[in-house]
């Protein structure tokens, strides 16, 4: 089944430009297409008409790199659940529908151009403590010398599956990055390897998060719903606990 659609797309030349919504029509869109392939069709069309194509972030197009974003019809990564925009398919839309396409909106994630935003704030949070201080010599102990309960390993994996796309921030009414930060903090807190720096890690990452200008968590749970990897709110609770525990005994 092929569809004709009206798109309302945010166009903004660069970070300084004010930007506005611009309307486009696309025709003959197959329902097997991915959302980004639909945008490819639009862009090919624009290039042929000597107009500038819409800039959007994308890379792996298989839902794992976290590069693609887009707030589609009022929802981060669009109306489907458990998928990134690149895995969103046009069968989720109806012929004749109007689709709003906007960049992630948050002060901490400013627009660079059109639908592309600057997510380096998330990177800086990682730099503040998203690691275990171990040299890369390879001369660590044997991997099986560290026993990890399967349930803990699985939980750590669940937390670690965050792709850093920023949908949690984009969808949160407070632009809070807590789900993102909590995922990293939780991953290491479940593992024996992460225990040594556990307290410093959570304090430093939260501090950096606050510096970047993200909002507070008010437990609305929107992030968990829109997260393409289904990262659970449990991890935010865990981070709160970690933080509380760390601050109480902290000498700083």
């Amino acid at each position: 089944m092929n569809m004709n659609l009206t798109l309302k797309v945010w166009r903004q030349k660069n970070a300084q430009d004010k930007g506005k919504m611009v309307e486009y029509k696309v025709t003959n869109i197959s329902d097997h297409m991915s959302f980004l392939e639909m945008l490819d069709v639009l862009n090919e069309d624009l290039v042929n008409k000597n107009e500038e194509p819409v800039a959007f972030d994308h890379d792996c197009r298989e839902g794992i790199c976290g590069m693609c974003s887009l707030h589609i019809n009022g929802e981060a990564h669009g109306p489907d659940r458990g998928v990134t925009t690149c895995q969103l398919h046009m069968r989720m839309f109806k012929d004749g529908q109007t689709i709003y396409i906007e960049p992630w909106r948050a002060k901490a994630l400013p627009v660079i151009k059109d639908l592309i935003v600057d997510r380096s704030a998330l990177e800086r949070i990682q730099h503040a403590g998203g690691y275990i201080s171990v040299n890369t010599s390879g001369n660590t102990q044997d991997a099986n010398a560290i026993l990890i309960r399967k349930s803990d390993a699985d939980k750590a994996m669940d937390a670690a599956s965050c792709i850093g796309c920023g949908a949690c921030v984009a969808t949160c009414k407070n632009s809070s990055a807590m789900l993102f930060v909590a995922a990293k903090v939780s991953q290491f807190s479940y593992l024996p390897q992460g225990q040594i720096e556990r307290k410093e890690r959570v304090m430093n990452m939260v501090e950096q998060m606050d510096k970047e200008g993200f909002g507070n968590c008010t437990n609305t749970g929107a992030c968990e719903v829109e997260c393409p990897k289904g990262i659970s709110l449990e991890f935010i609770a865990r981070m709160n606990r970690e933080y509380f525990g760390a601050k109480i005994v902290s000498e700083k």
């Binding site: 097997h32 090919e44 592309i116 660590t140 099986n144």
Partner: protein, 667 residues
């Protein structure tokens, strides 16, 4: 005389690396801070190298076109990473991993490199676990393994279906630590435009800031290319949209030899194409072949009916199904190596037995596995004479635990439930074994220019085994390059910072600006993608899974034509000094246009079939690859002389001291 010196150390293969490391030049820790290293690409190889080199004390600058190193396409590897740990006690060893890799690569890889890879493989797992990578565990808390194509042991470590992601995040976390220490400077959303050679040595790069369009000069004492493979020369591949061969190709044009470009891996289990708008192909992990059985209908009329949508796969009786891998390769069956499985699928589809509307798909069926697991589970749960439905229900649960996320991804894309109806799969370009020629130190033919990971040619020969790419990337980055680069840098401790105001930098920058200006001003008729698709079609049809002299000769002519057309008529909207995705694509596709020709030329030169390179004129009577070890046991390293068609071939003879040539049989 050949210009190639592979610098393979003397001595028995098992001791080469240890002996070599013992005698290599080192740079004193205090002097390392006087040395700058540029790393282009931040995937598993680049990321791990950046972290390690920075940790040793060098000043590292990393470049990547994505907005974060964490997004490099290593992240997409699903299945796992090999390591000779023998945790399963099934007879694995360094030697066996070495042997499997050389054999899997069809004896076209360098023995010494592969052995080194097998040696350090176990350290990778230790390292990653220490970094907090959540590799899968069993109930006793020990690491779990699964098996992969082309091997008879279980040596693959995994993290759900997201192994590449977890390993990359591990490497990135190691980078984070160094970024926090100020030892790594990240240049994200930056693309390398050229390598700068000063007095015969790689001394820096020209990069484009992709946000502002600014052309920047960066100098260093050594440059490391870790930019991945060039699979996107086919337009459609499992690579990321941005994956490109430009960094390697620019290095090639500056003097680095390009080795074995025709060795390309076509992965057997990808989701088939659904239409012309298709932008990329999605891989389904090879691990699915542990439990899935691959088949097409036995009768051509059944196949036709399926293609027309008149028949459903579940309606075809067991005896009317052709499990062609099990039929042709009884001992490896559905776990035959990738090149062989892919060709077998193509063979069936070319014969008309394909199972979707395009006729380019085969089934990957889990019904048998669901049934088997269901029965096992019923037994475990103590259910007496379970019903058929109960067995299926239990079996599906087991399958869901193992492959749930993959099944979900398939369903999202294809809109069919793979628990109930077999998956459809078809081969797609996945990995390029070829790449920049490097010596044992991983240095290219340009002094000071290194190449690691998929971008180099070294370890996989003509075909890569599953779960070995992650292993190679991390081995190169964590454990090989950081040692070998010191040998080259040792004399550089007194050099001081490399100035960026030299004529070499001036010229390189000027050339790039001219080229970018050309694209902007060309105002042609067609978009970059239009030409890229054309190129991709030539490559897939004529330089794809089955190649002939005729197809390759035609391809070379057609590639040249498309290239001429591209330069004449390409249209790039927008400006140079802004974020301009079309301009980025144009520079990458321009390089693919040249690389493609060398690719075809190399395929034409290699008069044999081996690994991913299958020449239809060199096959046995039953359609198996016919290798020529007398004439072609060499690495074809091409030297750029101004045009791909005039590239000069240099041969590095491959000597096998430990292993002897064997016909690669998986029967």
């Amino acid at each position: 005389m050949s210009k190639l010196d592979s610098k393979i150390p003397e001595g028995p293969v098992a001791q080469k690396w240890t002996n070599y490391k013992n005698h290599i030049n080192l740079v004193n820790p205090a002097n390392k801070r006087n040395i700058d290293i540029i790393i282009v690409g931040t995937g598993l190889a680049g990321g791990s190298a950046a972290a390690t080199l920075a940790e040793q004390g060098y000043n590292v600058k990393t470049f990547c076109y994505q907005d974060s190193p964490r997004r490099a396409h290593s992240i997409a590897a699903q299945g796992g990473i090999n390591a000779a740990k023998n945790y399963m006690g099934d007879g694995d060893s360094t030697y066996r991993l070495f042997y499997d890799t050389v054999k899997g690569g069809d004896y076209r890889s360098r023995e010494a490199n592969v052995h080194r890879l097998a040696e350090v493989s176990a350290n990778i797992i230790d390292q990653c676990v220490a970094q907090g990578v959540p590799l899968a565990r069993d109930y006793g808390g020990l690491l779990d393994n699964r098996s992969f194509g082309g091997t008879l042991v279980s040596r693959t470590f995994y993290a759900k279906g997201q192994t590449g992601q977890q390993l990359l995040l591990g490497a990135y976390s190691a980078m984070n630590r160094q970024i926090a220490r100020g030892k790594i400077q990240m240049f994200n959303r930056h693309e390398m435009m050229d390598v700068v050679i000063v007095n015969g040595k790689a001394r820096g790069i020209i990069a484009r800031n992709m946000i502002t369009g600014e052309i920047e000069r960066h100098s260093a004492h050594a440059v490391v290319i870790a930019s991945g493979g060039y699979g996107n020369v086919y337009y459609l591949s499992t690579n990321a949209m941005g994956s490109n061969g430009s960094a390697a190709w620019k290095a090639h044009k500056k003097g680095a030899f390009f080795a074995n470009p025709c060795f390309t891996q076509i992965h057997p289990t990808c989701i088939p194409r659904s239409g012309d708008y298709q932008s990329k192909l999605t891989l389904m992990s090879e691990s699915l072949r542990n439990d899935g059985r691959i088949w097409v209908p036995k009768k051509i009329e059944d196949a036709k009916a399926i293609q027309q949508g008149k028949l459903k796969p579940i309606q075809i009786a067991e005896e009317d199904r052709d499990y062609y891998l099990e039929r042709r390769y009884p001992s490896f069956g559905n776990l035959a190596p990738r090149d062989i499985s892919s060709r077998a699928a193509k063979e069936r589809c070319d014969a008309g037995y394909g199972v979707n509307a395009t006729g380019e798909a085969v089934y990957l069926d889990f019904a048998t596995a669901i049934n088997r697991y269901g029965k096992e589970k019923a037994l475990i749960l103590g259910i007496q004479s379970p019903t058929k439905e109960k067995i299926i229900e239990l079996g599906e649960k087991v399958i869901e635990e193992k492959y749930g996320n993959l099944f979900q991804m398939y369903e999202k894309i294809v809109d069919q439930n793979p628990y109930k109806t077999p998956m459809m799969i078809y081969p797609a370009t996945h990995y390029t074994m070829g790449g920049l020629w490097v010596d044992y130190n991983l240095m290219t033919t340009v002094p000071g220019l290194y190449c690691i990971g998929e971008a180099n040619f070294s370890d996989h020969g003509a075909n890569r085994l599953g779960a070995s790419a992650l292993m190679q990337g991390l081995a190169d980055g964590y454990f090989v390059l950081p040692y070998t680069i010191g040998d080259y840098l040792a004399p550089d401790i007194k050099t001081g910072p490399i100035p960026t105001n030299s004529t070499e930098f001036d010229e390189a920058e000027k050339a790039i600006k001219e080229k970018l200006t050309f694209f902007i001003n060309n105002k042609g008729e067609h978009s970059v993608d239009y030409y890229h698709k054309k190129l991709g079609k030539i490559m897939w049809d004529k330089v794809g899974m089955g190649r002939t002299v005729k197809s390759l000769e035609e391809a070379i002519v057609e590639i040249q034509q498309v290239r001429d057309e591209f330069w004449k008529n390409v249209k790039v909207p927008g400006q140079m000094n802004e974020l301009n995705p079309e301009l980025e694509k144009a520079t990458r596709v321009a390089d693919f246009m040249e690389l493609a020709e060398l690719f075809a030329k190399d395929a034409l030169n290699r008069n044999e079939s081996c690994g991913g390179h299958f020449r239809e004129d060199f096959q046995t009577e039953d359609g198996e690859a016919l290798r020529d070890d007398v004439n072609y046991a060499y690495v074809a390293a091409w030297e750029y002389t101004g045009k791909p068609s005039e590239a000069i071939l240099h041969k590095e003879e491959l000597k096998f001291e430990e292993l002897e040539f064997k016909t690669r049989s998986y029967k």
